[in-house]
């Protein structure tokens, strides 16, 4: 009735360690069990959201500072 679990080549790792992996896509290619793959995909999605938001936020800040620069130059003239 139970799955005959296959021995795995790679030891499982904790969530905290997962967030530290630099090349997560490469890491996913290694033999991973389905439950660990779910956690790895979760980490990639969380990273993606963070990157997108930080990028968008950085752009908003840049736009604001460029407005300030334009305003300052106009004022000086």
């Amino acid at each position: 009735m139970t799955n005959k679990s296959e021995r795995r080549e790679n030891a499982p790792i904790s969530d905290t360690e997962m967030y530290k992996i630099p090349q997560i896509k490469e890491f996913i290619k290694k033999e991973r069990r389905i439950d660990e793959l779910d956690r790895l995909y979760e980490v990639t999605q969380q990273k993606k959201v963070w990157r997108n938001v930080v990028f968008a936020c950085g752009v908003v800040n840049l736009v604001l500072f460029s407005f300030a620069l334009v305003g300052y130059l106009k004022d000086v003239q």
Binding site: T2, K4, Q46, V49, R51, C57, V60, F67, G71
Partner: protein
């Protein structure tokens, strides 16, 4: 350098640093920006939030709750309320001195207590009522002695600030990712979540500003109200730079220190320190006045006394809450009686308590929870050397009912039913349901866990397995740990065919690696299934059949 200080000491230092330095500076900077630099408040607020959210997100780095926060509808509600609250605060600081504005802001406490009582049914205690009365008195005095041309606006802003500040606190309590982040006890996770909320506000603010400048071209009359932003304001470098200074150097450290201090010394202690914000604002307003040109002339001696009253009121509330939390023990006379005649009552009371304490390994809190009484009742009984205290009859009835259900029939480690409790539940279920299916689960590789990681890890695995099974079968099921590493799940009203479909779910839950400290522990399970009435019509044989099935399965491995 700071390692010689305990976490608590660091927490107190951070709380005082935040309130005495950063809060004071924040109030001064808002007054200076609005009154001296004459910034556009919307552009200022937009820049504050944009820069602060960027700093918080970069500091926090990637991690948990990113998706959840951005997708949560609560985040937008939280953002909108924060935005309105900040805008009202800026208007308040533009009308009066920073010290007076910080006092007027305290009116929010009155609303918070009132709303808690009205909507959350949290009845205020004496210290809260005294505190609220003192704060109301002080704040109303400050507003009523303001110049006539400002008095009406100050009253309006006082009410609005009160409403939105308390709404902000309520929404923060209800905001799911924020709650999860607080439970996570990680400063970075909390900074990340607030960073996202602030980003949402930035987007909202940005859209508002663009919409307002669009309106300007078609409905110029709207600017007579002098409330929204004009296109030229977007290039106000003073507003943008002042906002950026606020966001990076004041708002970001305030947020970080708030989370860090609250995590180390608990939120209620942190809130007690915030009561001192009047003095910090007053000091900084006085100390920086030669540089800022801000005047404290409007602050009379009477206003100062009102400030002292407000601060004392806030302190009474905070310290009163701390004290009442620590002393919120039940009145022992409501639960216990002095029994000089009937010694059996005394013995029964002591037996129930001793048995329950033993069951929960002398854990007072767990014992009290299970019996539905307060810990000080248990302490009182065991401190009673003369042995004269017994439960009152009405209390005894409830306590013995709770004892039967939560102690005699439950497993102290996992909180699931134990064998006795389960057998009773099994018999009851056969009277109520036509079909029953029983899984007998035995963990594999459990002994090596104890041998390798120790018994503490073994207990953790047993608890985690119970937690997962409870989550997997939240309804129409009875779960038990029969002993050791054996669990049973009784599915109510399910025949064998539908029960077989659940086997995969159980295996998946159990085989997911368990994270224990720095290690990941993997276990598996052998499962036997028997159903009533398909396999047997004798309910007592059901457990035996499932057990046999499990052994057959185990021997095949």
């Amino acid at each position: 350098m700071f390692s010689k200080y305990t976490s608590q000491q660091k927490g107190w230092a951070q709380a005082f640093l935040n309130v005495l330095i950063f809060w004071g500076m924040s109030n001064i900077w808002m007054s200076y920006s609005t009154q001296v630099l004459e910034i556009n408040k919307i552009v200022f607020a937009l820049t504050t939030y944009a820069t602060c959210s960027f700093c918080l997100l970069v500091y926090a780095g990637y991690g948990k709750l990113s998706k959840e926060t951005m997708r949560s509808v609560d985040t937008w509600a939280y953002g909108i309320i924060m935005l309105l609250n900040y805008f009202i605060t800026l208007n308040l600081f533009s009308l009066t001195s920073a010290t007076e504005a910080s006092l007027i802001q305290r009116f929010s406490v009155v609303f918070s207590v009132f709303m808690s009582w009205l909507f959350l049914l949290r009845k205020p205690n004496k210290s809260q009522l005294v505190g609220v009365a003192m704060i109301m008195l002080g704040v109303l005095h400050v507003v009523s002695t303001s110049p006539d041309d400002k008095i009406f606006y100050l009253y309006v802003l006082m009410f609005l600030a009160g409403i939105f500040q308390s709404l902000r606190i309520f929404v923060a309590e209800l905001h799911r990712p924020n709650k999860k982040a607080a439970e996570d006890n990680s400063i970075k996770t909390r900074c990340r979540v607030i960073g996202y909320v602030m980003f949402v506000i930035t987007l909202l603010f940005g859209s508002m500003v663009l919409f307002a400048t669009y309106l300007e071209q078609y409905i110029p009359e709207i600017y007579k109200v002098n409330l929204v932003v004009e296109f030229s304001d977007l290039f106000s470098y003073k507003s943008i730079l002042a906002g950026a200074i606020m966001g990076v150097f004041i708002y970001t450290p305030i947020r970080y220190l708030e989370f860090s201090a609250a995590e180390k010394i608990k939120t209620e202690n942190y809130l007690a320190v915030t009561a001192l914000s009047f003095f910090s604002t007053l000091f900084w307003e006085w100390a920086t006045s030669p540089l800022t040109g801000l005047s404290l002339k409007s602050l009379s001696l009477e206003d100062f006394m009102a400030g002292v009253v407000v601060t004392l009121g806030a302190l009474i509330m905070s310290i009163g809450k701390l004290y009442s939390d620590k002393k919120s023990k039940a009145d022992i006379h409501e639960f216990l009686k002095v029994e000089l005649q009937n010694i059996d009552d005394v013995e029964e009371t002591r037996d129930i308590l001793a048995n329950s304490l033993e069951h929960f390994n002398s854990d007072l809190d767990k014992t009290a929870d299970a019996l539905g009484i307060h810990t000080n009742i248990i302490e009182a009984v065991f401190k009673d050397k003369e042995k004269i205290l017994a439960f009152k009859p009405s209390v005894f009835k409830n306590v013995s009912k709770n004892h039967r259900r939560n102690v005699a029939g439950s497993d102290s480690l996992t909180g699931l039913l134990n064998r006795n409790g389960f057998m009773t539940a099994l018999k009851d279920a056969s009277n109520d349901y036509e079909n029953l299916s029983l899984f007998f689960i035995d963990l594999n590789k459990f002994k090596p866990v104890n041998d390798t990681y120790g018994h503490e890890a073994g207990d953790f695995v047993l608890e985690e397995t119970a937690r997962r099974l409870k989550n997997a079968f939240p309804n129409k099921s009875v779960l038990t740990r029969l002993g050791g590493d054996e669990y049973c799940i009784l599915l109510l009203g399910e025949d064998k065919k539908s029960a077989e479909l659940k086997i995969k779910l159980i295996i998946n839950e159990i085989e997911k690696a368990i994270s224990y400290k720095e290690d990941l522990i993997e276990i598996s399970a052998s499962i036997g299934l028997a159903s009533y009435p398909e396999d047997t019509k004798d309910i007592e044989e059901l457990l035996k059949l499932a057990d046999n099935q499990m052994y057959i399965e185990k021997s095949e491995r």
